[in-house]
Symmetry: C2
Subunit: 235 residues, 2 copies
């Protein structure tokens, strides 16, 4: 992660409304970027997260926030976009092996591609994504080597890429952090985590199930960080 | 391009309904692939091309054909998706310099990403795209180095990528061919080019304008190949 101030340069920040993307937006803001937040309505079961993303973008002072429809259901293949049940109450040992059923095929590739298109239009060369290789080690598209490969691609795929100046940078400020470190970083930057939602299977009121992998990681994170958990759970 | 027969393996083929993607589908079929054709409704001005894509997929015996909505208008920045006028009657010398106004930011990156997602779901490791670095030299995402970088990315972004076996291949059978060579290849494979549409600005009847860059390249191709031009032009 670059530490020198970009001095008001534009950035595109992928924002789901969960802990990680919210913290990432806070990091980008703290570095002085003018942040164009980008979310996707991709037929996710947890669509209430889009309301969270809106609140987060506003609270953290994003320059603008787009929610683009994206038909990942037309592709299929994930518990997050189809009628497959989201796994619940899995112990950590089970969560950390293999590729989860909640993996959405090529999701981060697709999200970053759309972010790249937006970056070209708004004149941004800095893309921020809150991927994490610690808690989400099972997701192939959360790994550092994936992000580096996308950066290489971005610098070939675009107008700027033709000039050979390699201006695009994929920023992954959380990639090596534990959930505790992410929460402490966000708190230090003034993030109100009560605005965020991590649950894969929330109810229509936006209350978290408390039992899916994402809820369990979140709960354990607040507990381990010694931070009161601000999440609204289903009773 | 691989020449050994894949023996009924699945492929995902990006299909716009123009000469190049149609020829690419014919090539993939001739190599023995079971072809999953993929088109996008991305707010293009030339939406009638989707009807052509449907006809082409059927005529060439694609296994299935998906048309996915994709909100590239929400990103903006191209004459193909906005109210910017499509340039007409440009001489070849003018067409071949710089990045055209019809360039859609990150389009092929986005299209290939969606194709990659579909490939994971249908169990395909072969992606076909009809990019061409001869007539479309101004498009950064039609270059061989772009396609190679996407192949590297695909092999990191996916379930199969985690295993390190590098199964994904981006096939670009037309990338070094002239329009004449493409047309002759397609004719040899039985393609009926009357089914295809290349125009950036057709009317609602699907008749080509005959004057945009894409029409001019197409016209010159048929002429140079000595093949009767089957295109319906606006009177």
């Amino acid at each position: 992660m670059s530490t020198n101030s970009p001095g008001g340069k534009n950035a595109v920040v992928l924002l789901s409304g969960g802990i990680d993307s919210t913290t990432t937006l806070a990091v980008a803001k703290s570095l002085g970027y003018s942040c164009h937040a980008l979310s996707f309505d991709y037929g996710q079961r947890h669509r209430v997260e889009l309301d969270c993303a809106k609140r987060v973008a506003k609270a953290l002072g994003a320059t603008d926030h787009r929610i683009l429809p994206l038909d990942l259901r037309g592709i299929g293949g994930s518990a997050l976009t189809s009628a497959i049940d989201v796994p619940k109450d899995r112990p950590n040992t089970e969560r950390s092996h293999g590729i989860p059923i909640t993996y959405v095929p090529a999701r981060n590739t697709i999200f970053l591609s759309m972010a790249l298109g937006l970056a070209e239009v708004v004149g941004a060369f800095d893309l921020f994504i809150g991927v994490n290789a610690v808690d989400y080690s099972g997701y192939p598209d959360c790994r550092p080597e994936f992000c580096r490969a996308f950066e290489t691609l971005a610098n070939l795929a675009t107008k700027a890429g033709v000039e050979g100046t390699n201006p695009f940078k994929i920023h992954t400020p959380l990639i090596e952090l534990s959930k505790v470190e992410i929460l402490k970083l966000g708190i230090s930057l003034g993030v109100e985590y009560g605005l965020t939602l991590s649950c894969y299977d929330p109810n229509s009121k936006g209350e978290a199930c408390g039992r899916c992998d994402s809820c369990l990681i979140r709960k354990e994170g607040f507990l381990a960080a010694g931070i009161p958990d601000p999440t609204s759970y289903q009773s």
